[in-house]
């Protein structure tokens, strides 16, 4: 019964100098019971504010927040049946790990035996048993991270809230913790709301992802759908690395004109909504991994050819990034390392026309297919 729902939630901050700033506007969503949902977006997009509003650390300016079957608008954080893991772990430096883990339960005046049992459970889940009497400063970054998670686990909350919990770890540890968190979710079967600015983390952890920008929700979808059918240019550019390329184009029946090059679209791409844009300007989006060098094409059903000169080549080992110019926009292709490419080379690139996206140049919304 631990769903989380936002109904038209809005949050404004007032500052005497800077005036009113809207951090979150008209936010509506439902997070289902036992679901792992990731909020992702650039800094200042409102994702952390949304999380804090669920926690009760910030109060929304208007709208309702529902956790389980209760409207929690006026509830104190301690009464919301949530637990939170902070970016900087927020472990109490003057308390031992045991005291850190039990602090919340002690404040709630739970029986001693119960507290002891909960702490032991959490410690064994997270492999912290040997360090219960130590202070946080004696622990490594990864261990502190686990204590922070442990502090949430002992509370047995309906909802776990994670605020960029891995961003202070080094790359290797981050991947390891990512796996551990995914396992933990399966094991606890709890609802998890997770905030990150790292789209890889979002894609690997989230069952559903909420993409936010400038206080507004851009799209809520599964990782696969987010990648395959981004709702607008922001989502398209934010999800995937390197980012999706955009080109100015004009539609003419089943043909697209891009910077003087004519591309013929396959039947599958043509839809009624695209037909509305006939003879009009559109934005064509294509991911770097859907562009190939002419000499190394893999599994492309409908090819679009585009010849241009190579500007920069980056060798990444498993693949190469080739940069070239289309009109005024720079385009990146992620190609097989054996693809021939060097600066100044006139080269023909193959676009997988079955995987292009179209956006309205005014609204930047996806033209659905």
């Amino acid at each position: 019964m631990a769903r989380v729902e936002f109904r038209n939630v809005r949050k404004e901050f007032h500052d005497q100098q800077k005036g009113t700033f809207t951090a979150v506007e008209g936010s509506d969503f439902v997070i289902n019971d036992k679901e792992f949902v990731v909020f992702v977006g650039p800094s200042g997009c409102g994702k952390t504010t949304s999380l804090r509003m669920i926690a009760g650390l910030e109060h929304q300016s208007s709208g309702d927040i529902i956790i389980g079957d209760r409207v929690v608008n006026n509830l104190h954080p301690k009464d919301r049946d949530i637990a939170m893991v902070f970016q900087d772990y927020a472990l109490y430096p003057h308390m031992t790990i045991r005291e850190n883990l039990s602090f919340g339960l002690r404040n709630l005046k739970k029986p001693k035996a119960y507290i002891e049992q909960k702490v032991q459970e959490a410690a064994s889940i997270l492999d912290l048993e040997s360090m219960l009497e130590r202070k946080p400063r004696e622990l490594s970054g990864g261990q502190r991270q686990r204590v922070a998670v442990g502090r949430a686990i002992v509370r047995d909350p309906q909802v776990f809230l994670f605020d960029e919990p891995l961003s202070n770890l080094d790359a290797k540890l981050r991947i390891q913790m990512r796996v551990e968190l995914a396992e933990l979710h399966k094991r606890l079967g709890a609802t998890i709301v997770y905030v990150t600015h790292d789209q890889v983390e979002a894609m690997t952890l989230g069952e559903r992802i909420v993409v936010m920008n400038k206080g507004a929700i851009q799209q809520i979808a599964s990782p696969t759908e987010l990648y395959a059918k981004p709702r607008n240019m922001f989502v398209a550019g934010f999800i995937g690395s390197p980012a999706m390329n955009f080109m100015d184009a004009e539609l003419d029946g089943n043909r697209v004109l891009v910077n003087g090059t004519v591309l013929e679209l396959p039947e599958s791409m043509l839809s009624s909504s695209l037909a509305d844009y006939d003879k009009k300007k559109v934005i064509l989006g294509i991911r770097p991994e859907d562009i190939y060098g002419e000499d190394f094409v893999q599994n492309v059903k409908v090819e679009g050819k585009m010849t241009t000169s190579v500007q920069v080549v980056e060798h990444l080992g498993s693949e190469n990034l080739v940069y070239f110019q289309v009109g005024e926009r720079s385009v990146t292709a992620k190609v097989h390392p054996e693809t021939k490419a060097y600066v100044g080379l006139e080269k023909t690139f193959i676009l997988d026309l079955g995987k292009v996206h179209f956006f309205d140049p005014e609204t930047e919304m996806r033209i659905s297919d």
Binding site: D69, V71, N73, N74
Partner: protein
């Protein structure tokens, strides 16, 4: 959708306000109450008093008369002069002394730094009363006094340091020069330690002379500290009282009467609270002007 509306009906806007902010107001309650009673009320009361002939039995409103009396009073002007001379004679001198001492200490090894910091700081923890008593003994006009004894070694006759108008104010200034550098030295050393070494290394690469490094790097980067010491020094010396009260009683012939001492004298010797309040507002305005100048020059460097 079945949702129970938790505590919405019971919590009015007021309740919610109390819940969100009540604690914060409670936390600042004690200082705010004390402020209202022991600062705000007295300031307003002093302002009103300065327009009155104050008498516990029969207080009369006399408008600007206190201020008129004040500005026609030779002793007031003399106290202004003394205060300004004392300030000009001590604050810049002390800053130079403090700076030179800090610069020297900075060249030392760490253990020596600590020794000198501690030694030079020591007089700062001694009370004004103690220091005044000791300096009365040092300035003893007979040949018992330490300074007169020292001068005696060179065949100079004993000087009545505190007892004659020509030397009394100077004596108070001399005492001030020899012992109020502790805090300043620590601030300067902290600031000097905060200057990145790379700046000096870059200057070395550019073949800058020692003087250039001092004038172009050290001094400009220490300017905030210097200004801070200047302003706090001026404000403190505007209010110099204990040494005047204990060592000279403002005399001889008002030669050491400072404004702070004059206010005390007017209020608690002559019990003219109205006039004393007027005098205190003149002092307040002088200090506020200095503080505002501080704010203008320092606002970008000092964290509030």
């Amino acid at each position: 959708m079945r949702t129970t509306v938790a505590s919405r009906s019971s919590s009015s806007a007021f309740m919610r306000f109390c819940r969100d902010y009540g604690w914060a107001y409670l936390f600042i309650l004690a200082p705010v109450l004390l402020f209202l009673v022991f600062t705000l009320y007295p300031v307003i009361s002093a302002l009103i008093m300065s327009f009155q002939h104050y008498n516990p039995m029969n207080t009369t409103w006399i408008g600007l008369n206190n201020y008129k009396t004040l500005f026609q009073d030779d002793v007031f002007w003399k106290s202004m002069r003394n205060t300004v001379i004392f300030t000009i004679g001590t604050v810049p001198v002390n800053i130079v002394i403090t700076f030179v001492l800090s610069y020297f200490i900075f060249q030392m090894k760490n253990s020596w730094q600590t020794l000198f910091k501690a030694t030079l700081y020591l007089p700062t923890v001694a009370s004004g009363v103690t220091l005044s008593i000791v300096w009365i003994a040092i300035y003893d006009p007979t040949s018992t006094g330490l300074i007169n004894r020292f001068l005696g070694l060179f065949g100079i006759d004993p000087v009545i340091w505190l007892g004659q108008s020509s030397t009394a104010l100077f004596s108070l200034m001399l005492m001030n020069w020899l012992g109020s550098h502790g805090a300043g030295i620590i601030l300067y050393l902290a600031a000097m330690g905060g200057i990145p070494k790379s700046l000096y290394e870059a200057a070395d690469i550019d073949h800058a002379s020692g003087w250039t490094k001092f004038a172009r790097i050290t001094w400009p980067l220490l300017k905030p500290t210097t200004l801070y010491l200047l302003v706090t020094g001026v404000i403190t010396s505007f209010q110099v009282f204990i040494s005047v009260y204990l060592m000279t009683h403002g005399g001889p012939n008002f030669a050491t009467t400072t404004i702070a001492y004059l206010i005390y004298d007017t209020a608690f010797k002559f019990y003219d609270f109205g006039l004393a309040s007027a005098q205190s507002f003149v002092l307040a305005i002088m200090i506020i002007i200095v503080s505002v100048i501080q704010f203008k020059f320092l606002s970008s460097d000092v964290e509030y």
